[in-house]
């Protein structure tokens, strides 16, 4: 059960933190269509967070709901991927982060649709529809900007290079992953790599971007070891719940 709780927080914390990062763009996007798209994506991710963390709280059975998990834990209890806590940077970094993640997120959800845990399968099914659209959109934009002007190409390649070291963690399993996979509850991270590689190679190819050669991967987020950025993000995200612990909102 503790494994399941951990696995669910890995899913829910990742959508939460990415949703938060995306929501930081609100009102500052380069065109109105992107303001709309980013808000929509953040909304989807926060919605998925409610489901994953809600289920995590249920599984834990200690009376913590999704909000308690989102707003009352400190950094080391979060299990999100390091990739999603990277700062937004310019719009190219935000977009590339989204694409690298979407290309993993979709096969992950497809695999979770086959979970032996019906609750997980149901959430994955709902989320999968949203994320299929996220991937379509982020892949399309990566292509258009990679194969756009010299500057847009340079920025997208720079974003790719900068984020590449944070992509590998998505495919690094640990003992928890293995046990969850053995029980048919969640796929092993490694099993998602091939499809991701295919998507990445196809899209980067069309985008005229060069896939970095290094396979070094930063890790630790899934185990609660985060970057310095995480603590700053939480000061903002959790402010009201921390400052007014007795309030209902």
């Amino acid at each position: 059960e503790h494994d399941l709780f951990t696995g669910l927080t890995r899913l829910g914390d990742t959508t939460l933190i990415l949703g938060h990062r995306v929501s930081e763009w609100c009102g500052h996007a380069p065109i109105l269509e992107e303001d709309i798209a980013l808000a929509n994506m953040a909304l989807d991710l926060i919605g998925q967070t409610q489901l994953w963390l809600g289920l995590a709280g249920e599984v834990e059975g200690r009376g913590r709901d999704a909000d308690a998990l989102a707003f009352r834990r400190d950094a080391w209890d979060f299990h999100n991927l390091l990739l999603v806590e990277r700062p937004n940077g310019d719009f190219g970094v935000t977009l590339m982060r989204q694409f690298l993640f979407d290309a993993y997120h979709l096969p992950l959800l497809k695999a979770l649709e086959g979970s032996t845990d019906a609750r997980i399968a149901a959430i994955a099914q709902k989320a999968g529809k949203e994320v299929a659209y996220h991937l379509e959109r982020s892949a399309d934009l990566v292509i258009r900007l990679g194969d756009g002007t010299e500057e847009s190409h340079r920025r997208m390649q720079g974003a790719l290079d900068a984020l590449w070291g944070y992509a590998g963690e998505m495919f690094l399993g640990d003992a928890v992953d293995e046990r969850l996979a053995a029980a048919g509850i969640m796929p092993t991270p490694e099993s998602l790599r091939a499809e991701w590689d295919r998507t990445i190679d196809t899209v980067l190819g069309e985008a005229t971007l060069v896939r970095p050669a290094s396979d070094f991967a930063h890790k630790g987020g899934k185990q609660g070891r985060h970057s310095e950025h995480m603590g700053h993000l939480l000061t903002t995200m959790q402010w009201l719940q921390r400052a007014y612990p007795d309030a209902k909102w």
Binding site: E24, G27, P30, L43, I46, F71, T236, M237, L240, Y244
Partner: protein, 311 residues
């Protein structure tokens, strides 16, 4: 003059004017200004609410706020499209916003200082906006009228959500209640200002009303807003910051104090608490996004060239 008379006759008969039909140049210009300002307001209006999205206290409230801001950006989009049917491009309008030649609603030059302000914006600001916009569903220009119908539906949803947030605060802890009251104190008069100065002061009103670009007078709408809002505040247990607020049986409405119009003109001049920050935020977004927009255009040109080459 004959055209003009026919045009006015159509309006008087309640017909809609469509983009390709003849219209007086002044009608077109007035509409562009009004629709453009309205669109800009939706865009700039993302900022005070966006200020709290990253601090929303629950996932549900965060989702609601995200959905709301998304709707607002969407409203901006409809309205720019409506303006475009009058022959002005979105980029033109944006440029006029950024260089200060076009305005946006002054209300967004006030800051959102506490979470309760998000409630107050929904309840009072969207409330006042709806009061202004509902009649515009019947405005004479077709695309504008249709955009308004769609927008009003969503806005009234936002207003209910804002009121619900306010209710949670007003019935919460002492601190929450204080935040709610403080938000009402700060947003009450700016909300009243949203209807504009008394029509006695307003030059453009008569012509706009004849053209059915404006349907009610500012004072009518302000009265309606006060009459609607006072009982809502009472229900929340909050006090409207107006010592002169009193029920007037004769007119069947509330008597209330005028806002401080010198403040209104000061904010209009650029001296509101947030004018500079808002403009800077929009200018920065536009500047930082230049490479993105150019990248997309370059790609579109390349794709088109490839398609031609392939034919």
């Amino acid at each position: 003059p004959e055209l003009l008379a026919a045009f006015q006759a159509r309006i008087d008969a309640g017909e809609k004017i469509e983009p390709k039909e003849w219209m007086p140049e002044a009608y077109r210009k007035t509409l562009i200004r009004q629709i453009g300002q309205h669109a800009h307001s939706e865009i700039v209006g993302q900022l005070p609410e966006g200020n709290w999205i990253t601090r929303a206290p629950t996932l549900e409230r965060k989702a609601i706020l995200l959905a709301k801001v998304q709707d607002e950006a969407g409203h901006g989009l409809y309205l720019y499209c409506a303006a475009e049917t009058l022959g002005v491009s979105r980029d033109d309008l944006t440029e006029q916003l950024l260089n200060g030649r076009m305005k946006y609603s002054s209300i967004f030059n006030y800051p959102t200082l506490t979470w309760a302000d998000i409630g107050a914006v929904g309840w009072l600001v969207d409330g006042a906006a709806i009061m202004n916009q509902v009649p515009l569903q019947r405005t004479s220009f077709g695309p504008y009228s249709r955009a308004m119908i769609r927008i009003c539906k969503e806005e009234s949803f936002h207003q209910r959500q804002g009121y619900d947030l306010m209710r949670a605060m007003a019935t919460g802890t002492a601190e929450q209640k204080a935040m709610a009251q403080d938000a009402l104190n700060r947003f009450w008069y700016p909300a009243l200002m949203m209807f504009g100065p008394s029509d006695k002061e307003s030059i453009h009103s008569t012509q706009s009303m004849a053209w059915r670009i404006k349907i009610n007078t500012n004072d009518e709408l302000r009265q309606k807003f006060v009459d609607q809002t006072v009982p809502q505040a009472q229900y929340l247990g909050l006090t409207i910051p107006d010592e002169n607020l009193v029920w007037n049986d004769e007119k069947g409405g509330w008597d209330f104090s005028e806002p401080d119009w010198s403040e209104f003109y000061e904010v209009l001049k650029g001296n509101g608490p947030c004018n500079t920050d808002r403009m800077e935020a929009r200018q920065k977004a536009w500047r930082d996004g230049e490479w993105f927009r150019e990248g997309l255009m370059a790609h579109a040109r390349k794709s088109a060239a490839r398609r031609v080459a392939a034919e």
